[in-house]
Symmetry: C2
Subunit: 251 residues, 2 copies
């Protein structure tokens, strides 16, 4: 049997504002494309429109810089108000080098600038990550399911740099309706040898696959459907992907 | 316009032996599926069959353990000959914890066990990574191009664990015919703001996308085609993705 998976961009998503119902907007955009939503479709939604719909975009002037922010702004050449937003979103600073601040966010993500973004939000504005991206995914999923009567999964994605390798890749910061990690320990290989260590982060692989479509149109495509991938339905969120320091072999 | 990308598994790839011409085998398998190969198709090939075709599978008995290997085998509970193979493939040991040895390979990859694998090679055998995976990709590409007259790209993939996040993901260890990193610095966002830091490792994202199909069949699918993704043709290899320690903000 031929295995085939499709990654389909949802076009015609309007500019998102605070309070918008993303699930409804996505279903309407799919309808306009004559794209029928199927059971087990996986919806991948880029973080920035989730942050916008949840009112997580603020004027930089809301972030009066602390002493620490002023000091780090001088080191990095960043706007002190941007640094203040980064610090407020951080559990701790991991490293500062050049103009980059690596932090651990309140979600446990280790990434540049606590995920606080000046892009795609207009001059003088700043976008913070959703407070609880798993809950964001669940809300979007519930409205798509109510409107369509189908079981779907939702993954919220963001682009992260990483150690050891150049270039950012898209990862899953939130999910709902899909088991994010496929635990294959105990399965057998081609020669009957039992696999001892195989766990695959399919949520991150799906997020990376989605970026291939999200990134290509001139104006970007904030939502894609991945269709044809068999997954385990689960209420686990992407929080499970975050690896605590004490079990991290690379730290 | 609808953006749509397909990930298509190539079925019917036989067990691969040393000396096999992988490009030819892939083209023949696609023909048997009535799958026409198009210009700009991207072929993703899992590392283990590349290693097999290049004779990189050895009996464990070829690796007489050194003193270091014996010591590390005692610490980790691994077969001392397996440890010896890991050490011979390593530039340095990064960390040893529990039964896992993290090394830097001669290619610069930081991964578990120098990528030396006891899975899918049969009892008493061990598979090493290709010596030069970019060259492996180039050889496969050249034979596909000669047989079909099409321009294609080839990416060799392997599954790697990583810091900070649970679960392995598929990454690109070699490539040919595709620019592995898409440098978007200087482009403008939705509001005309110039992007300062955006570089995307599309080769790794393609590898992760491929794993969604590679992993699913019972016996595994060692080769997939990704179709519909626009990329820049390039002779750069995946070696460019390896980030030297001195420019790594996370180290």
């Amino acid at each position: 049997m031929t295995r085939r998976i499709e990654i389909i961009g949802i076009s015609g998503i309007p500019m998102i504002k605070s309070g918008d119902n993303l699930g409804k907007i996505i279903v309407e955009a799919a309808e306009k494309m004559n794209l029928k939503i199927n059971d087990l479709d996986i919806f991948l939604v880029t973080q920035i429109i989730v942050s916008k719909s949840e009112g997580r975009v603020y004027p930089l002037s809301d972030f009066a810089p602390s002493k620490d922010a002023l000091r780090i702004a001088a080191m990095t050449g960043k706007d002190p108000r941007h640094v203040e937003a980064i610090l407020r979103e951080a559990l701790r600073i991991v490293r500062i080098r050049g103009e980059v601040i690596i932090t651990e966010t309140r979600h446990g993500f280790i990434c540049a600038n606590s995920g606080v973004d000046l892009s795609n939000v207009g001059e003088g504005m700043v976008a913070l990550l959703p407070i609880d991206p798993d809950k964001s995914a669940k809300n979007i999923r519930k409205s798509i399911e109510e409107l369509t009567g189908k079981h779907v999964a939702v993954i919220i994605t963001d682009s992260h740099g990483r150690p050891f390798r150049r270039g950012a890749i898209n990862i899953a910061i939130g999910c709902s309706g899909i088991e994010p990690i496929w635990d294959r320990r105990g399965e057998k290989d081609l020669h009957g040898r039992v696999l001892r260590s195989k766990q695959v982060c399919i949520a991150d692989e799906l997020a990376s696959a989605a970026e291939l479509v999200m990134g290509q149109a001139d104006e970007g495509v904030p939502v894609v459907i991945i269709r044809g991938y068999n997954y385990k339905i689960s209420e686990d969120g992407a929080r499970r992907i975050v690896r605590p320091a004490e079990e991290d072999l690379f730290r």
